[in-house]
Symmetry: C2
Subunit: 221 residues, 2 copies
């Protein structure tokens, strides 16, 4: 089935919200994610329901069907593979690739996606540490990740992922030398605003709760 770019973006957004919440996605939440109005969302939910890509009952929110989930994973796969290409082959920074990958993820050709994957050496994660589903939509098993914002004083770990999408956030990480794979330690946690004092690469940094919630680590020791 041939989907429009707009339909694909809805499917992707519903998938992303489902991953976060595990629950049914409300019209309003989806409208906010898509930067559009609830009434537009309702129309699209009906259309995608007719195409058997999601289950939707009036006033009850929606969830993806198996078909819908497969399509979402195919888009995520393309997005992340293209990000790897842009960073590894074209020397883009990790803060520059999201908007371009948002366009490239809609290119239709399974052969292209699979050849690109092979050309890149079957990468398992994108430049932000997000896992790349294989041709069957499956993720490799990987160590458990924890949001830095959930960590306690004394916790140590390795940086596994950072949130993709906001260039200014990633540029800030560049500025302080923050990269995937670094060892970090939570020196302290300020209870009143949830901000964290971090030791990394010999430097001491302070992260707001918001920043810490955009960083995932693998706990060690």
């Amino acid at each position: 089935m041939q989907l429009s770019q707009s339909e694909e973006n809805y499917i992707k957004a519903i998938y992303a919200l489902s991953e976060e919440t595990g629950k049914e996605i409300s019209t309003n939440d989806l409208a906010e994610k898509m930067a559009t109005k609830a009434s537009s969302v309702t129309d699209m939910l009906k259309k995608l329901t007719d195409k058997d890509l999601l289950k939707y009952k009036k006033y009850q929110g929606c969830t993806l069907t198996k078909n819908g989930r497969e399509i979402a994973l195919a888009i995520v796969r393309k997005h992340r593979l293209w990000e790897v290409f842009l960073v590894e082959k074209l020397q883009f920074g990790w803060d520059e690739v999201h908007a371009i990958a948002e366009q490239l993820e809609h290119i239709q050709s399974n052969q292209l996606t699979n050849k690109l994957e092979a050309f890149l050496g079957f990468p398992k994660v994108d430049p932000h540490g997000d896992p790349i589903p294989n041709i069957n939509g499956e993720f490799d098993p990987s160590p458990k990740r924890v949001l830095l914002s959930k960590c306690e004083k004394g916790n140590k770990g390795i940086v596994m992922g950072v949130e993709d999408g906001e260039p200014s956030f990633l540029q800030y990480l560049n500025k302080i030398g923050f990269k995937l794979g670094l060892n970090i330690k939570v020196e302290d946690r300020l209870s009143f605003d949830g901000s964290l004092i971090i030791e990394m690469d010999g430097k001491t940094l302070q992260f707001s709760h918001l920043v810490a919630s955009k960083i995932a680590i693998q706990l060690i020791d």
Copy 2:
């Protein structure tokens, strides 16, 4: 200015027809090229005229403005660079890349185009021998090409280009071992249907006028 995919496709089609004929492009010719109706074309011509991408007088056909030509060349540049990428890096055949490049040519990012060009080593021609404009829309000077269909008995030359777009034509060329760079000689020309007897790589082949009109050579001797 941000153009829709449809607008870009019209600009590209007008550019291609202008290259062929050198004259103003008629509504009907454009409708045929775009596989649409004359009435749809008229609407689009008005819109593109308002955007100063072409000059158009009712019943008089249209030509691109400087702006329009620049956009056309940028699209052609992207199309051909992506074709090189698909063939050189992803191991696609020259018969498989046109449809994918038709999608990729609409990706918006000058930085992407320029980095891709560098990654590919600043190629001057695409896999079908079509020249690639540089960042300023300029073509490198190149030897004069002649359509094989215009050649006479006894002419010799090197294959410089083949028409892009129809997979079955390119697959036919694959089957007979026809490649860019080969030396060929016109052994004979059948006057009643314009078909040619060709010597190439020790083999003798017969090309219909239609096939010969899709092949460009550089004459030698």
